[in-house]
């Protein structure tokens, strides 16, 4: 395929990525961009060209060991939530923007640790980036008919490298706050993760099912070859020890590689995303790995043995004449390179600016300038770093023209990065791990790594025929770099890893217990180790004593954030802690808050330097720090308790209020009832008194009129008697002192009697009465009382139904041992708000308390009491819409 065509495809592909990145940046809040799948897939930045091409190379030459790179993460991912949640929470709270920032924060915002970590990362990752570029360049050459370019100006890899640098600078350095998320960049990484996996799976399926007849076919052919055993099994115990250490190495790498920390912590938008990642990512790796062996074996079977096994994935389709498939493989490889280079360059450039350049020197310059210039300067520092890194990696590749395979350079990077492991992992869980110990451990480990890996390598490259490696320095056999202290059964990388870890770990542990850290680093250690319990302390988790002026701190903040952002941030801060913004002296919380604010822009160490230059700090002793932290914690939990208590109190007082309202309402009803009773008693009494007075004084009254007046007196006296009986009834029934005369009766007879009683009235009002009843239901009850209930319900209905169209319907049904009767009318119904009161003794509907009430308001209360005394019920159907419906229920068992 001609190179210009490939270049066109590459440019097209890169433009597509740019477009996707810009789109995702704009849509950073949408569910497509902000979602757990994007997070899980972005972790697959782990799969670089090393995975895409290198695994096949290893599988074809030395067998199972390629799996170790992935088994470390597989073991690590179940722990993801537990470990990373803590790291992410702390990082978010303290605006951490890189692994260097995180480790330096843990050890008290220690400037030199941040710098050391940065140097380690650059040393490890730069050759690693070079390797990625090498892969692009070599695959490009393979694809473009093998014509090698000779000068930089004609080398397409150089331009690809420049384009990548532009890409990172564009999407990675939009703001000076490096802890801000870059959704566009992360989204493109996730998209590329999908592409590289899909392309790899396609080529795998193509090899297995198109070129061969399934997996068994390949297996049968390859197992017939010599040396197959080495590819499919462990041939000796040593190789299995190697296996063990390699897994440990990749376990560390998944947490510590700068690009992994970038995507898994800095770019994390929600801790809930960690959940999905912990099963999606291992599954992703599994899919990537199942086809590796078959592609490797197919390469061995199909291709000539002088081709580089690293690129079997690409050679196979090309050899078969499938150019487009080859192009697809190339793009998949390019994807894995791009995401690795982009994220690594971003992470490293942030570290270089925040942990190396700014804290060592640049800060003085920044201190004197205005915010716009500073933001621009910080961004420029990062952009320049990005270009230097990527172009530097390019020249590294060109000049060293590394003979080592992709796989071994990757492993060396892993070993160097692994030097951060004790300081990182133990520091997360052990509060005594101190800054000096972390520094010592990392340095010791790095020196050992340098001696056991880099020196022999450089020796071979630059000094021909040196005996340094084979016989040891000055012939001391114990110091042979590949067989330190006589351990001669490990391959160089494992050997270096083992010894560097021994020194690193021992230095870290011993220095930690021998030399006590200062109060400042202990404060941060407590923060990180107890993140779950101190997390909620926020600014209170920081112990600080000294003198500081708000104005000074503000000036420092404005220099980096600008007036607007500073004002906004401080406003939030003052409101959160309910502080007076006019206060001149700053307290510990403001000092800590300001450090956090600055950390995103200039890194943890510089932020500490910046703030401490404007405040006068007084040392606090360690026990004091711990005491204050404990006190703050207690204050907060006491506050929580208080809040809980006041909440409970409020609920209680609400309940009391309700009860009181109910009582007042009851009182009001009772008053009204008494008024009503008084009115009802006084009215006939008044009538009797007036009439008898007239009769007594008037002798010449006509006889008929006299008779009429006397009848009136009799009627009023009867009314009085009924009223008095009612009141007494109610009193007796509700206090249970009534004696029932219970006998066997036919329910139907009683009902007919009740209807007969009101029949005349119904006829006058033109009300229609329907009865549906169950024949021959015989029950034990006090007939007079039940009759009273029925009559009461019927006369109530009669009062409320309209004239001439009124209907009253009585239905009886038997359910098991229960007789249920419904009395239903088409009257005006019961107002919803009265439903719960109608059976109360003193009930008078609200809307008739001034108007003269219809009835005494005691009928329903009396009826319900009667039903209860018969072990039955009287209820109202609250759902009934067309009028009122009362339900009477009686047990056939009686009593």
């Amino acid at each position: 395929m001609p190179s210009y065509a490939i270049i066109l495809v590459i440019i097209g592909y890169l433009s597509l990525l740019f477009a996707v990145g810009i789109w995702a940046d704009r849509k950073s809040k949408s569910k497509w961009v902000h979602n757990p799948w994007v997070y899980a897939l972005s972790l697959a930045v782990y799969c670089s060209a090393w995975t895409y091409y290198g695994s096949v190379g290893i599988a074809a030459t030395s067998g199972v060991s390629f799996l170790t790179t992935y088994l470390g993460p597989v073991i690590a991912l179940p722990l993801w939530i537990i470990i990373m949640k803590r790291v992410v929470l702390i990082s978010k709270q303290y605006q951490v923007s890189s692994i260097a920032d995180f480790i330096s924060l843990r050890y008290g915002n220690n400037r030199s640790i941040g710098a050391i970590v940065t140097v380690i990362c650059v040393v490890a990752v730069l050759p690693y980036i070079a390797l990625q570029l090498k892969a692009v360049s070599e695959t490009f050459d393979i694809l473009s008919d093998g014509v090698k370019s000779t000068s930089i100006l004609t080398d397409s890899t150089f331009y690809i490298a420049v384009l990548l640098a532009v890409f990172v600078a564009l999407f990675g350095t939009q703001t000076s706050d490096a802890s801000r998320r870059r959704s566009g960049l992360v989204f493109t990484v996730a998209v590329e993760s999908v592409l590289k996996l899909v392309f790899f799976l396609i080529i795998g399926i193509y090899v297995i099912f198109y070129l061969f007849n399934g997996t068994t076919d390949i297996y049968n052919q390859i197992s017939a070859l010599d040396g197959f055993e080495e590819l499919a099994t462990f041939t000796n115990i040593e190789s299995s020890i190697n296996w063990y250490f390699m897994i440990a190495l990749s376990f560390f790498a998944i947490f510590l590689l700068p690009r992994q920390f970038q995507v898994s912590v800095v770019e994390n938008t929600s801790t809930s995303h960690l959940k999905k990642a912990s099963w999606v990512f291992p599954l992703y790796l599994l899919l990537f790995n199942v086809f590796v062996i078959f592609i490797a074996w197919a390469g061995k079977l199909l291709l000539s043995s002088d081709l580089n096994p690293d690129y079997y994935t690409l050679y196979i389709p090309l050899q078969q004449g499938h150019q487009l498939l080859g192009l697809m493989v190339f793009l998949g490889g390019l994807s894995s390179v791009i995401s690795m280079v982009v994220v690594s360059a971003l992470a490293l450039s942030t570290m270089i600016s925040n942990n190396l350049i700014i804290p060592y020197g640049f800060i003085k310059l920044l201190n004197k300038s205005n915010p716009e210039d500073n933001a621009q300067r910080i961004k420029n520092v990062r952009r320049v770093s990005i270009f230097i890194l990527i172009i530097g990696a390019y020249f590294f590749y060109v000049n060293f023209n590394i003979e080592l395979s992709l796989f071994s350079i990757g492993l060396i990077a892993f070993v160097i990065i692994a030097q951060l492991a004790p300081a990182f992992f133990i520091g997360l869980f052990w509060n005594r791990g101190s800054a000096i110990a972390a520094k010592m451990g990392i340095l010791a480990g790095s020196i050992v790594t340098f001696y056991t890996l880099a020196i022999p390598f450089l020796n071979e490259v630059f000094i021909d025929g040196s005996t340094f490696v084979s016989e040891g320095p000055a012939g001391i056999a114990l110091l042979k770099p590949y067989q330190l202290f006589g351990i001669d059964f490990m391959p160089p990388v494992t050997h270096a890893f083992f010894w560097s870890m021994v020194f690193n770990l021992m230095f870290y542990l011993i220095f930690s217990v021998v030399f006590k850290g200062n109060y400042r680093e202990r404060n941060y250690a407590e923060l990180v180790v107890n993140a779950s319990s101190y997390g909620e302390l926020e600014e209170n988790a920081f112990v600080w004593r000294g003198e500081a002026y708000v104005a000074e701190i503000k000036k420092a903040l404005v220099r980096f954030l600008g007036e607007k952002r500073t004002a906004r941030a401080l406003d939030i801060f003052y409101r959160k802690y309910e502080l007076n913004p006019q206060e001149e002296k700053a307290d510990a919380r403001l000092v800590n808050f300001s450090e956090k604010l600055l950390t995103g822009s200039i890194g943890a160490a510089s932020a500490k330097l910046m703030i401490s230059s404007v405040v006068k700090e007084q040392p606090v002793t360690l026990p004091e720090v711990l005491k204050i932290l404990e006190e703050n914690k207690e204050t907060i939990s006491a506050n929580k308790q208080l809040q809980q208590q006041s909440h409970d109190l409020k609920r209680l007082s609400d309940r009391l209020k309700d009860a009181n309202l109910a009582l007042v309402e009851k009182d009001r009803q009772k008053d009204e009832f008494l008024d009503t009773v008084a009115h009802e008693l006084k009215t006939p009494t008044a009538s009797i008194r007036a009439t008898s007075e007239i009769l007594a004084d008037d002798d010449d009254m006509p006889k008929e009129l006299k008779q009429k007046f006397l009848n009136n007196i009799v009627n009023d006296a009867d009314r009085l008697a009924v009223l008095i009986t009612n009141i007494l009834d109610l009193e007796k029934l509700s206090s249970g002192r009534d004696i029932m005369d219970k006998k066997q009766h036919l329910l139907k007879d009683t009902l007919v009697k009740a209807v007969d009683g009101i029949y005349q009235l119904a006829l006058q009002k033109g009300v229609h009465i329907e009865i549906e009843t169950v024949e021959n239901v015989s029950l034990i009850y006090d007939e007079d009382r039940i009759l009273q209930v029925f009559t009461n319900l019927l006369s109530n209905s009669l009062k409320f139904v309209p004239e001439n169209t009124g209907t009253i319907k009585i239905q009886t049904q038997q359910y098991g041992d229960e007789i249920v009767m419904s009395f239903e009318d088409n009257g005006k119904g019961i107002p919803q708000e009265d439903m719960q009161y109608i059976f109360e003794k003193f009930y008078q509907s609200n809307n008739q308390n001034i108007k003269k009430p219809i009835g005494s308001g005691m009928g329903l209360a009396i009826s319900r009491h009667i039903m209860e005394n018969h072990n039955g019920t009287l209820t109202v159907d609250e759902e009934f819409q067309n009028g009122a419906r009362f339900i009477v229920a009686l047990k056939t068992g009686g009593l």
């Binding site: 008084a678 009115h679 009215t683």
Partner: protein, 121 residues
């Protein structure tokens, strides 16, 4: 002949009062509640109204408020005759503009004397 309007929903009381006042020489009109009373007043303009308070539809309070608003009824005297006997009730009745307040049960003789006193002289 002076005109007298009796407003009450209790037929027995109305019947007794109607007889007693007619015998005293008043022209007596009867209404069973406020709305009926107002209809009669438009027509007759009584000199005095005996007014119950607790009545269906328009009660005594509403009735007196309407009467007091209408200048045509300015000369009509009003006596409340009610079973409501609490001090607050009486105060309310008088504050609405009633001339007298009688509580039930009442003495017919005293009521006649009061009516005479208000409109005979």
């Amino acid at each position: 002949m002076k005109k007298l309007l009796i407003v009450d929903d209790e037929p027995n009381i109305v019947m007794s009062l109607e007889y007693a006042f007619q015998k005293q020489g008043y022209n007596v009109f009867i209404a069973r509640d406020g709305s009926e009373a107002l209809v009669i007043m438009e027509r007759e303009i009584p000199d005095l109204v005996v007014l119950d308070i607790m009545m269906p539809q328009v009660d005594g309070y509403e009735t007196i408020e309407i009467i007091k608003k209408n200048p045509a009824f300015a000369k009509a005297k009003i006596i409340f005759l009610s079973a409501k006997s609490k001090a607050a009730d009486i105060e309310k009745g008088l504050s609405l503009g009633a001339d007298l307040y009688f509580t039930k049960p009442f003495s017919v003789k005293k009521l006649i004397a009061a009516v005479d006193n208000l409109i005979r002289i």
